[in-house]
Symmetry: C2
Subunit: 329 residues, 2 copies
């Protein structure tokens, strides 16, 4: 299971199996989406399969997750999603009404994100060979001129911004799955981030890195950026907004919020001179109201993420090995 968790085992599979087989410099850049040139246009292209369990959870379902996941991967290269493909693998016996509810949520999420579903596919597998519904989406978007956002561009001196509270998606799905109640219902933060990124780009096209901390959470996102850029990252743990209900749920479930998946948050590496302006623009957007400076990119310990703890110490924030929370997206 760990090979799909977005941690070190996932990275190993990509590096040892997929990269040698597929080759190519674009894939090797390992961004959330690929930046391409085609017919004179600069395109971003990305894909994700969604295998979340259960299919419906507080705050969303596999349908809107499938739209927002891919729209956000495109947004992380500064691209506004334009077109989506959508492919269903249905398990024999799944109710048409369930497929209909998922398709409805998917269509609504696409309209909300301003993206059009233009092509699709449906396959059916025997009972016991699937799990109700799996959905794949791929997306294409245009990268605006002058924008070059990728993990390799993190630079010592960059300010690290986070768009809001972490842990909501993972905890919402996990509590649903385990039948846990925490007094207050925890809802997934599943949302499309294209509008927030547009607001940030209006301040400066020179954002260095954007990443949505999904599988593996904020810890995995920061580690991937540190590794890609060969730079160090320092995070101030007290500055990372963790909602109290996420903190309690994580305590019960034995999880660290830094490793829990989000589906409507982003982390940004921004040149110091633009940090205040970008932060203000984020806070003025509904999806960035709780945005905060959470750390900085530093010349020390290249490739490594270090957290300043609430008690004044420091600890290394590792890339998770396998999967804390399987099938979260």
């Amino acid at each position: 299971m760990g090979h799909g968790g977005g941690g070190a085992l996932s990275a190993e599979l990509v590096e040892n199996v997929f990269l040698p087989a597929f080759g190519g410099r674009t894939l090797a850049a390992l961004g959330d989406s690929a930046a391409l040139s085609l017919g004179g246009a600069r395109l971003a292209f990305s894909t994700d399969s969604f295998v979340v369990r259960p299919l419906f959870f507080p705050g969303g379902c596999i349908g809107d997750l499938a739209v927002n996941g891919t729209v956000n991967d495109l947004a992380m290269s500064g691209a506004r999603a334009a077109y989506l493909s959508c492919a269903f693998i249905l398990e024999e016996g799944v109710e048409t009404s369930v497929v209909g509810r998922i398709a409805g949520a998917l269509g609504d999420a696409a309209r909300a994100a301003g993206v059009e579903v233009v092509t699709g596919d449906t396959k059916v597998v025997e009972s016991g060979r699937g799990d109700g519904v799996y959905v794949n989406t791929a997306g294409i978007g245009l990268i605006p001129p002058g924008v070059d956002i990728r993990p390799q561009r993190a630079r010592p001196g960059d300010v690290v911004l986070l768009s809001g509270e972490i842990g909501l998606h993972g905890v919402a799905v996990m509590s649903m799955r385990q039948g846990l109640e925490f007094g207050v219902e925890i809802e997934s933060d599943c949302a499309a981030l294209g509008g927030l990124v547009d607001a940030m780009l209006a301040v400066t096209p020179d954002l260095h890195v954007l990443r949505d901390p999904t599988r593996g959470g904020l810890a995995a996102a920061l580690n991937e950026i540190a590794a890609a850029a060969g730079a160090g990252v320092v995070v101030d743990e007290r500055a990372v907004p963790v909602p109290p209900q996420v903190a309690s749920a994580c305590a019960v479930l034995g999880l660290d919020p830094m490793y829990v998946a989000n589906e409507g948050k982003l982390v940004a590496f921004v040149p110091r001179e633009h940090a205040d302006g970008v932060l203000a623009a984020m806070r003025a957007h509904p999806l960035g109201a709780a945005a905060a400076v959470i750390g900085a990119c530093v010349p020390d310990h290249p490739g490594m993420v270090v957290a300043r703890t609430a008690f004044g110490g420091t600890r290394v924030v590792d890339l998770p090995l396998g999967e804390q929370l399987p099938r979260i997206c």
Copy 2:
């Protein structure tokens, strides 16, 4: 199972569930790929999930199928595939060596087709929730200027061309699955058709319709074209090349070769004045050596496909209801 078979039940699911949910004129055009405009470029975009069983079969495996299936969908709008995404859903416990062999075949097929895998995703599901390996690909290609190939453009008077022998892919997979031996090994015709389409377009950009007869076979492809164009199609059964080993296997398996999936063939609707030239170009290409005129588009019985049988009679060739051969691609 029938809802994934490419027949009438599939069409019903698309029309009653997906189209109302997703909306949009592009999706409603229901081509093998969507024709889009983005940043001044004319793009084709398509996706397919692959759930073929077994993963390896005579003449190919799920890896090259995943490349050729999507490359061919793009080629059916006249586009040369440029970029592919590739997403794996792995079942817990599948051997890394199996994933590696599939990835290797996928990479080789991509290089052979001149397309680059630029972005990907891997998910892992629990044992019993998948079937070894499912693969999704999505592809983007450029549509050359002046090319407008889609099912709606079939016109009475068009000549119907077929690029070669039918039934090889479906029978190869099915015989492998059922452990049947037919004396001669039957190999899948799995191949990328971009080069063949380029050769046809070099004769005239005014090809009206291209379709690769995959799920549901030649019968489904012709029915979809007849329905989309509101035109009739007449096929001369004796002119459709059926290899003797496919005919014998179909007799044993109780199948009609007209309904069996192909993965390296195309059917073309071509204006009469260009038919000879296009046929010659097809025959000069290795993947079109056995190309033949198999029928015509007619003003009679709009939306219906009629076959002239070997005995001089006629019969209606229906859209298959469900799935003759489940999980063939």
